[in-house]
Symmetry: C2
Subunit: 710 residues, 2 copies
């Protein structure tokens, strides 16, 4: 893959689709209640420079432009064909377009793969017909293309009913056409434009990643935005993510399916491919794709990043026309963990000229001025605040106020002159219409909600701290291991695997009867734990199969006979293979170390709060396997329980180095057995004080060949 290379045929194909010499529109009409009518009008009105061939056998001319009876009748081969025609007619239209020499087609028509197996078969036929002719397809079931950079609109949406296209270095690729048009529309209202927007629909031929690859190499695109429901080719996706990062082009993404209900909504047909959100999120984080949960906020951030490329954001200053709004904005920033800057003494002194005692602080409430009107001091306030080196981003929270347009204009002029990242939050509705016009005239960045400003700020902070993974090196002396047979392994087998990878496990052995158990306990020392060994008992403790803190032989033998009875009661069918007699390990904290195999993105290591806290806290972080010690440490630092490991509140510092080593080793186990290992949990890993290591005291695994394994 050479995304920005010369002579890349995919790149050339897409470049031509987005900037064709001519466009034929099948089904073009003047009827604005029809797709073909709206799409034709949208294409005509935005000053597309190429030739337009409306195809309509019933008409001589449409909006004064000569019409053609069929796609073969155009005076020159149409570079690109757009069709919004009934589903059964699409295949013929593709064939006719190919015969006429078309290089590409946009298929708006729906009821293909998304409608079931029959539709999928019809869709496959389209692709096959197109490929035979060397034609590329966008869609079907898409909303087409809006390319302000090329003044090309192949899209029927009423969102295009605007007097001009705004060109800006922001690309958009979307798996939802309606969402693309909606975002385009709201962005336009805020003066935000795009280079190219592509609705990819069912991605029968060209898919989302094809367009991302194009945008990475496109000189007119600096930021890439995307709405994604599923990734078709995970290896390529990750490779593109790294290419975008290398090119210095932030890639922002809203992906449906963060939650189970959202996943059901997004993937009514393809739920099996959804994978886990957290492993996807980890893959994005590691490779520089910035996930967001609100598309409008994504566009806002894209506009800010395009305006202020490469700028880091950590701390925010709020300037507001209302103390109430300042307080609410401060609360909301704090909710999302965004720091408000503390002003330097020089800034406070400069502000104190204009503001009452105690008011020269962040947030700056223009209502706290000594005299005059907000309009008189807005500009200088922005100047002073923007000059403070502690301030990375200005949030200008605007409520209704007298002379709001002049006040807003003054703030905007000062913010633009200061050259520091800023965002306006326009909280009134129509009362701020003139103020919004003042911002639009200045091409100033604004949103209408605190929510989106806060989201943009939060994501900007995250983007300012990219994860740069270190190369993972296999620990010295660590060999690979073959996988056990398919199925669940018992604890002894699982621990043998851990021991093979150099992860400390508590001593112990399997006993068949009481005398053997007592002999083992004498060897390893009391107190001991006793655990039933049976592949059929996945959650041993549920069936009475675990006894802890057994202090002597009588306690041990009694526990063993009690356990036999309990299991016979709870799980009469479970076959008891023996009893594991183990050292009791005392420690200061419990972690879970696990392996999660994503069907698309491969093995990830999971680290989190262990024991009872695992389910309670959901405090877990993931990284793709294998990983370097530095990255294992970063993973631990992302946990809430990191505080505990560091020795919170006079407690002892725990053995972080030992945990890091265990994570690294487990990541190699995950890597080596990636095609066989379905699940793997060490829970708990007992962590002891610094220097005393950590010990895996319980572990379970399930092996299952990966369907997609190479």
């Amino acid at each position: 893959m050479a995304p920005s290379g010369q002579g890349n045929p995919l790149r050339a194909d897409i470049a031509r689709l987005l900037n064709p010499a001519s466009v034929a529109m099948i089904g073009a009409s003047e009827d604005q209640t029809k797709f073909g009518g709206r799409a034709f009008r949208n294409l005509m009105r935005h000053r597309y420079a190429g030739a337009i061939f409306p195809i309509n056998p019933a008409r001589e001319a449409l909006f004064g432009l000569k019409a053609y009876p069929h796609v073969g009748a155009t005076p020159a081969p149409p570079d690109m064909v757009v069709m919004a025609i009934p589903q059964p007619k699409v295949l013929d239209a593709i064939r006719a377009s190919a015969a006429a020499g078309a290089r590409g087609a946009v298929i708006i028509t729906a009821k293909f793969a998304e409608a079931g197996p029959e539709g999928a078969a019809a869709e496959a036929e389209l692709v096959s017909a197109a490929r035979q002719a060397g034609m590329r397809l966008i869609g079907p079931n898409c909303l087409g293309v809006i390319s302000p950079a090329n003044k090309l609109v192949l899209c029927s949406s009423p969102a295009l009913d605007v007097e001009n296209l705004i060109e800006a270095p922001i690309g958009m690729v979307s798996q939802s056409g309606a969402l693309m048009a909606t975002l385009f529309d709201r962005a336009w209202d805020r003066g935000i434009g795009f280079s190219h927007c592509i609705s990819v629909g069912n991605q029968a031929d060209l898919e989302l990643c094809d367009f991302v690859e194009y945008l990475i190499g496109d000189a007119r695109t600096k930021v890439i935005t995307s709405y994604v429901e599923g990734i078709k080719d995970p290896v390529r996706f990750l490779s593109l993510a790294r290419a975008a990062r290398a090119a210095g082009k932030p890639w922002l993404m809203v992906k449906a399916g963060r939650t189970e209900t959202g996943t059901r909504a997004a993937f009514s047909h393809t739920a099996s491919l959804a994978g886990s959100w957290r492993s996807f999120a980890a893959a994005c984080r590691e490779n520089g794709v910035q996930l967001m949960d609100e598309p409008d906020a994504m566009i806002l951030l894209a506009a800010a990043l395009a305006r202020f490329p490469g700028r880091r954001v950590d701390r925010v200053a709020v300037i507001t026309t209302s103390g109430g709004s300042g307080a609410i904005t401060a609360d909301r920033l704090t909710d999302r963990g965004i720091a408000l800057a503390s002003f330097a003494p020089a800034t406070e002194q400069a502000l104190a000229q204009e503001f009452m005692a105690g008011q020269a602080a962040n947030p700056v409430d223009l209502g706290g001025r000594k005299t005059g009107e907000a309009v008189d001091i807005g500009g200088t306030s922005v100047k002073h605040v923007a000059a403070d080196p502690a301030v990375d981003l200005l949030l200008l929270a605007i409520t209704t106020a007298p002379m709001l347009d002049r006040t807003t204009a003054g703030l905007a002029d000062a913010a633009i002159a200061a050259g520091k990242p800023y965002l306006f939050v326009m909280q009134p509705g129509k009362a701020a219409a003139a103020a919004r016009r003042a911002l639009l005239k200045r091409k100033a960045l604004f949103t209408d909600t605190i929510d989106d400003a806060v989201r943009a700020a939060e994501a900007w902070v995250e983007l300012s701290h990219p994860i740069e993974r270190k190369p993972a090196v296999r620990p010295p002396g660590l060999g690979t291991s073959a996988a056990p047979a398919t199925g669940a392994t018992n604890e002894a087998e699982t621990k043998a695997l851990l021991a093979h990878y150099g992860i400390p496990v508590n001593q112990g052995d399997v006993a068949i009867d009481e005398p053997e158990a007592v002999a083992i306990a004498r060897r390893i020392g009391y107190p001991v734990a006793l655990k039933a060994v049976s592949a059929e008992l996945v959650h041993k403790s549920d069936a009475g199969g675990v006894a802890l803190e057994l202090r002597d032989a009588p306690a041990l033998t009694k526990a063993m006979s009690d356990m036999r009875a309990a299991i016979a009661r709870a799980r009469p069918a479970a076959r008891l293979e023996g009893f594991l007699v183990q050292q009791m390990i005392a420690g200061e904290a419990e972690l879970i170390l696990g392996i999660e195999r994503d069907p698309q993105f491969g093995p990830f290591v999971l680290v989190g709060a262990g024991g009872a806290l695992t389910e309670l806290l959901g405090d877990a972080a993931l990284a793709s396997a294998p990983l370097a010690p530095d990255d294992a440490l970063v993973l631990l630092q992302r946990l809430k329980v990191w505080k505990l490991l560091q020795g919170m509140r006079g407690r002892r510092k725990l053995d972080v180095a030992a945990v890091v080593d265990a994570i690294v080793r487990l990541s190699w186990l995950a890597h080596d057995l990636r095609d066989d290992l379905a699940e793997f949990d060490i829970n708990p890993l007992i962590v002891r004080a610094d220097g005393n290591g950590c010990v895996a005291v319980d572990a379970r695994a399930r092996f299952e060949k990966r369907l997609e394994s190479k």
Copy 2:
């Protein structure tokens, strides 16, 4: 207090201020760059039925209305006087108004108490002058009054620059004038009106609660909204909250200061009164005030509650014009813990007529239809979904779409006809202008953001599950106790207090030397814990003052001498009063039980995850003391660790009844010592298996007379 009673003088005063027979406006002009110019114009344009007396010595007439040189020159005593004049002139104007027979005044002018001690003194003079004359004041430093119910506008904001006032049964009281006007403006854009909106400013005379009391008794108000920075009279506030609930009028509130930075922003002068957010939130929750974090969402919910009074909401159905938007909305609802309804088979069958296989589910994507356009099936889809008894609220998430106005109108007509709560989320900008007009024409409820719809739904669910506190009854045999002297108590003293209240503590005694310690240990049984006793060691473990799991006499004596040495090193000045030798208590879970004294709202009991988890999780719930067993149980059920108490994952069920009893007893301790007890923590309270009770193994307290104590 008799909020809805007849002959309540406060009520009569406010009724007259909001509906005066005449208004004099000091500083009235035609100049729209001045407060007096805008306020005068706003008053004239909205068809106020009373007499208007512009006061302007330089003019004969203003906008064709006769002007008067001073407030004493009006043809009749002005009921209400509005003034937006320089600060130094306000006192004279109040005196002149009183002399002219005015009953009330709105003082827009700022630079009073909010500007420092001098301003506060000037403000006190205003109040004193007004009270002598029996005049009531709104402000100073306020934005006045907007009363659509009385067609009265005493407000200079450009938000009033609209063709009509919309009357609706929603009251608003705000400590921020700019925010009030901003909310009024955005609400108007959505067709949402109000009964009365009052900006209370510095609350020199009439304060927020006065107006809330009025609104509770006002027949034209059904829902009360408020923006609050601080509560002046907490007892009255809580009493009004209960009165509003009794009257069936939801009281919604956005309060600044949820976070420390927000508090600093809201209370630059009055931080000492802020109290803790969590005790305030607990007080609101118990008394029925619904807190929200976004004012726009508050207004949206108020409009919905006014439209659908008394309707409960638990489960939501999403109907959308775009699958992408449906997926995102589902994710966002799930994020906030809002359940999507599962449709009944009858609903699915009915939808299956129109929708493709697998698409007749929640969220309903109109794009998943079999044939035709969204406009054809929108109405019937809404009808079927609304008829499902599992659905309490319909969210209609609208993106750009062809014939969007007709599609939206069809959905709205069906939603209105169904009579079930609904909210439209209009995601496009100007492309939905005609659709928004269609909604406005139908007075349909809508917002422009998923965020606010989700917030409104979340708060509606909370309102549907009000906390009804049971009467707290002192446990039999429990006497009250006197407070120890001011200061911190040592562990032995604190535990004696707990024991007095019947809360189980672990056995133990204070030893001076090793032989005494060994004797105590022999009596209570090994293993034991050893803790240094010293009022100067608040965090004993930080100084090496805690040793656990001592199994025999040699271990105990060694620990004791080690401890002496450690404390001498860490805190040479700390006076050692002895060593506490205690039973080691084994158990299944650790809780914290605490008392938090709010400077305004009195004592609260706090229950949360204990031990190391206290700081890690922030998993805590509060309730005002004293409390009944049922309410103690509810408190426990709100915790994340509730799962643990119930016996998660095959673990044993823990002794919840014992914990409930301990909470109740602690709540009486909090109540009895409310004027003396500054802080009290039991941490950990060890909870054992069901039937085995719970034991406080560590506790600390600090006593300090309440400044405001009665």
